[in-house]
């Protein structure tokens, strides 16, 4: 023992990174990681650059607000996408109004109240299954149970989008609620809080920013859907600000219709509508982030 100790004192300790295969492995993996990062960036960057390059020319105040969607043959500069912008905001907004509260409450039930009850397991299972249902099926479903009785309307579109959003909101909120440490709940219970109060004043605020992220993901997903809208809202050429009656239209649907067309003007309008849709989603994300950060100033 003593001999070994004095030996190591005699010559300086080698703390350099070991050479050979181990170091090479480290370098190879680091390079692969960077490569993966760059590869992921390529499609993202490409989409964004193409959108701006092809769509920016179409964007003007008239394009965003003019309430008449022109026939495909007309060149860029006549009419605008106002009808689709209004429709998208209305329909997605109302769908969020239905799906987000329901989804968050469902997740609260699953995580805080349900435990191992049959009902909780059933809801959890069903929401998992619903996540995998194609959006066109949701559209068809609403078409059969609503549109065939009450006709096409923005409301029907909202219902279809809400069906689509609900499982996403439930899943993401549930995961966020699960991350709230139990020690916080216990601390609150130990002060004499009821279960409802623990949930409202401790658990939900602690999970808020994550819940908002999940909800936004659902909103963005719904705002970009074409198929459910096709079945439930038909389309219009004039702004229909009445959500509850008459056909309506959204940006994704206009992208779909205009991009298919052989006319240059229509194609330009499709790119413009695509850029508008991305911009709306982007603004929404930033606004929600700012609002959430105001509410959660002291949570970290």
């Amino acid at each position: 023992m003593m001999a070994a100790a004095s030996d190591s004192l005699a010559q300086p300790v080698d703390l350099r990174e070991p050479t050979g295969w181990r170091r090479s492995k480290n370098q190879i993996m680091t390079i692969l990681m960077w490569l993966a990062f760059v590869i992921v960036l390529i499609p993202l960057g490409f989409v964004l650059v193409t959108l701006v390059a092809k769509g920016a020319a179409a964007i003007s105040w008239q394009f965003l607000t003019n309430s008449t969607i022109p026939p495909n043959v007309l060149p860029l500069g006549t009419g605008g996408m106002g009808a689709a912008v209004v429709g998208t905001l209305e329909v997605t907004g109302f769908a969020s109004l239905i799906a987000i509260p329901l989804g968050v409450l469902g997740a609260v039930y699953l995580n805080e109240y349900g435990g191992n009850r049959i009902l909780a397991q059933l809801i959890s299972f069903m929401s998992n299954v619903m996540t995998g249902v194609p959006s066109i099926v949701m559209g068809l479903f609403i078409y059969i149970i609503w549109v065939t009785h009450f006709g096409y309307s923005g409301l029907a579109g909202s219902f279809a989008l809400a069906c689509l959003m609900l499982p996403i909101v439930i899943r993401s909120s549930y995961e966020m609620l699960r991350l709230v440490p139990d020690s916080l709940r216990q601390g609150s219970y130990a002060l004499g809080a009821s279960k409802a109060r623990v949930t409202l004043t401790i658990v939900l605020p602690a999970a808020l920013s994550g819940i908002v992220s999940g909800a936004l993901l659902a909103v963005a997903r719904a705002a970009g859907e074409t198929a459910p809208v096709l079945f439930t809202m038909l389309t219009v050429e004039q702004t229909n600000s009445n959500l509850f009656s008459g056909p309506n239209t959204t940006l994704p649907f206009q992208i779909f219709m205009n991009a298919q067309s052989a006319y240059v003007g229509a194609n330009a309008r499709a790119w413009g509508a695509a850029l508008t849709l991305v911009a709306i989603t982007f603004i929404l994300m930033i606004a929600a982030r700012i609002i959430t950060s105001l509410f959660t100033r002291n949570t970290r």
């Binding site: 435990g115 440490p181 020690s183 916080l184 709940r185 216990q186 601390g187 609150s188 219970y189 130990a190 002060l191 004499g192 809080a193 009821s194 109060r197 004043t201 401790i202 605020p205 602690a206 959660t296 100033r297 002291n298 949570t299 970290r300």
Partner: protein
């Protein structure tokens, strides 16, 4: 080597000893203070697992009662049964009875919420809420319906002063409670508990994650507040028990040879001076002299 061998022998003896299945709680010294908790023949189960068996003890007003014992002896389980925190664990079940100021704590029309408003708890790991320091303290009073800003300000200041934290945080009451150091966070949790003016404060190893200086502060704090509150503390640190407590309960693990199951038992309960100076049970003696556990 020989000493080690001796220790092993002693430990083996301890394994055999538990044939004294009845906890030896006989030598209780006389005391005529008010009994806060009267625990009688209480066993606590988690599902089919019996965590503690047949505990009987009395906790007196304005005293600090320490629960000591090796890991797994059920001292925390007993502590958590005193404000019905065990109710939150699915499958937890209690036999026997616990009276709090003469009322059966597990009686039919007793609300655990009402119980916990009078009997607060400080946890092993500081658990400040992700809110501002002010909101952490005001949380309990707000639950009790206090909305008046002036009243709340007053309570926050008083509680933080009682917990010896006021001077350190008075300029940043609106900053997050998560930004405090370990010792400060634990004192914040104590202040939060005191803010609802409980009758009893239960402490579950409140200093186990703290350095000696922070520990010393919390121990001083306990001495200062004990004239107004009754404190029950679980601790792994025997020096801490001798420093702060008036009365000590020593728990141990009883192993059933046949079924190979373990359960906690109360071995001995008495004044701290007696438990550490003149233990009546050989297991207590082995533990307090550092030969076991």
């Amino acid at each position: 080597m020989e000493e080690q061998q001796d220790q092993l022998n002693v430990q083996q003896d301890q394994e055999v000893l538990p044939k004294l299945a009845v906890p030896d709680t006989a030598p209780r010294d006389k005391f005529n203070g008010t009994a806060i908790f009267d625990v009688q023949n209480t066993s606590i189960y988690y599902g089919s697992f019996r965590a503690v068996t047949d505990v009987s003890l009395t906790v007196y007003e304005n005293e600090i009662t320490a629960f000591i014992g090796p890991s797994g002896c059920g001292k925390t389980t007993v502590l958590r049964s005193l404000n019905r925190m065990n109710d939150l664990i699915t499958g937890a079940r209690l036999e026997g009875d616990i009276h709090y100021r003469g009322v059966n704590l597990y009686g039919k029309d007793v609300s655990p919420i009402a119980v916990r408003r009078r009997i607060g708890m400080v946890f092993q790991k500081a658990n400040p809420f992700p809110k501002s320091i002010y909101d952490n303290i005001a949380y309990g009073p707000r639950i009790n319906g206090i909305r008046n800003k002036g009243r709340l300000d007053e309570i926050v200041e008083r509680s933080l002063k009682q917990a010896a934290l006021w001077d350190e945080v008075k300029d940043r009451l609106n900053k997050s409670g998560l930004g405090l150091s370990g010792g400060q966070a634990q004192r914040l949790c104590i202040a939060r508990t005191l803010a609802v003016e409980p009758d009893v404060v239960l402490m579950d190893e409140p200093c186990s994650a703290l350095d000696p200086i922070a520990t010393g502060r919390i121990e001083d704090l306990m001495q200062e507040i004990k004239s107004r509150y009754t404190i029950v503390i679980v601790t792994h640190n025997m020096q801490q028990a001798t420093r702060v407590s008036d009365r000590t309960a020593f728990y141990s693990v009883l192993r059933d040879e046949k079924s190979d199951t373990r359960t906690g038992v109360l071995v001995e309960y008495g004044s701290t001076a007696q438990i550490f100076g003149d233990p009546q049970d050989s297991r207590t003696q082995a533990y307090v002299t550092g030969r076991m556990g």
